[in-house]
């Protein structure tokens, strides 16, 4: 299970990182073509605007598994491990519910946006696949959180915050 979940969040994260590199290359190429050859790449900004969704969201499950999301540890960090566990579980519940809701609603929006043919101006790139990316990202997060929640309840969470402070 441990190994499965690691792969389950790592692959999307690798995609996210690769897409970020693509954005960098595309923008640089656009700048070079424009500045030196007066021939910018049509709609390069439209691609960047959509790719940033992939580069940004696909990594959020991985961040969760590695306990990377930002938090304030001033008060809870002072509690004994058992007390901390309560707050850790509470956090997972909040994040779990939120990610399920956003995952579902982005999925519905994706269908709507598809029906409305919303797309980019110059290249006509449809927006809906990127709504699906948001949706999938939050579902990945949801499953990761479920895993962490179960592990925490079983006192088996290797990454749990208790060890930090």
């Amino acid at each position: 299970m441990n190994k499965f979940i690691k792969w389950f969040v790592s692959i999307p994260a690798i995609v996210a990182g690769s897409v970020l590199i693509l954005i960098m290359l595309l923008t640089t190429l656009d700048v070079i073509m424009r500045f030196f050859f007066n021939a910018p790449i049509t709609g390069s900004s439209e691609i960047t605007q959509r790719f940033i969704i992939v580069a940004g969201f696909l990594g959020i499950g991985w961040c969760a598994l590695n306990n990377q999301h930002i938090k304030v540890d001033i008060l809870v960090g002072k509690l004994p491990p058992k007390g901390q566990k309560v707050f850790t579980i509470f956090n997972y519940l909040v994040v779990g519910i939120i990610s399920a809701l956003i995952g579902t609603q982005s999925f519905k929006q994706a269908a709507l946006v598809k029906k409305m043919h919303v797309q980019s101006q110059l290249l006509g790139i449809p927006n809906f696949p990127f709504y699906y990316v948001v949706s999938v990202s939050y579902f990945i997060l949801f499953i990761t959180i479920l895993f962490l929640l179960v592990m925490t309840i079983l006192n088996k969470n290797p990454e749990v915050e208790d060890h930090e402070s």
């Binding site: 595309l26 640089t28 990377q68 909040v94 809701l101 948001v134 402070s165």
Partner: protein, 433 residues
Amino acid sequence: MSPELIGIIGIVVLLVLIFMRVWIGFAMTAVGLVGYWILEGWTRTAVMIGTEPFSQISDLTLATIPLFVLMGAVISNTNLGKDLFETASKWIGSIRGGLASATVLACAAFAAVCGHTSATSITMGKIALPEMKRYKYNEKFAAGACTAGGTIGIMIPPSIAFILYGLITQVSIGKLFLAGFIPGILQAVFYMATIMIITRIKPDWGPATSQKFTMKEKLGSLKLSGPVMLIFLIAIGGIYLGVFTPTEAGAGGAFAAIIISLIAKRLKWPQFKGTMLETTMMTGMMIALMAGAYIFQRFITVSKVPFLISDSIAAMGLGKTQFMLVVVFFYLFLGCFMDIFGAIILTIPIIMPTVNALGINPVWFGVIVVRLMEIGLITPPLGMDVFTFSGAMKIPTGTVFRGIAPFVLADFLHLMLLLFIPQLSLFLAGGGM
């Protein structure tokens, strides 16, 4: 219950959740979602949470942030940053706190182009923090210098905050740019003075090296800092020479960093892997935080709290001095949970008529507002930049807040100076509108 009351309750609940160690981005999403639901009903809330993450993040300006983070990660993972500090320590290592001052200056230069405060502090933190630790600097103090340093850049042109302010208030953007210049430089000077005073009181926080270097050794070390200097020069120079827009500078800088570190034979597979791990991690973390912040902002908008406060300020019939005092508290408060752009968009149009009626110079007022929002980003209880920095550097939030305290004190002195001597802002801008 009035929407405004629900808005204020929402802010309190958000604080409680955050101190219960709920991940900040998700605490903001949760409160934003529930609050919007109460005010607007489920149908609209469902659309809002399904649309906002795409809508807000598919933004060109935002795309620049992970690219700057990438650039910083390349510099730190390839040890090019270490080389830079090697040079710096040979030149100014014998001065107490010298490396911290150098970091502040580098932050100022970097933030000036990047235009995003927390991206700057994280990028520079990645490079400078391990190095300052290596030179036996106090961690808290070093973290404070990086985070505070990151806020300088909004003042220094080109500044997206001033462009936005100019668009809304019809004030010349060119003049706003000029107006921010001296305050921005002064801010850096204030931070360096803070560093000097602190290291005088606590010499072990920023110890001086006892080693003496000959001029030849010093000049020889310059070679080491060459690659990083070149990367910075490309990122900053590219904008000033019109090769790319400020929004494109992130990509240009990251690309330059990769190419230069490849040529310097520093970027091999392990370094590249480390760089990508770090960048992806920080990107995911920041995106989750921002998506949450925007959803929370939508809730605050429909709660009409910003309208309520700015309307009340406008209606109080205050004199110039009292008005400015209220403005100070208002924007420090807003700086806790809104980004600079959101706050400007929501409040400036409402407050501006009062500013004009009181005969307050709008250019100067813009400088003050932007300055206040910067301070809000690094002060407790909510300081977005402190949160992102502590998340990225794995330093507890409390430590960063404590480390930043002396810099916040300097900020308030700097603010007073700007408040009492408007000429500091208006001298270059030529006084009028």
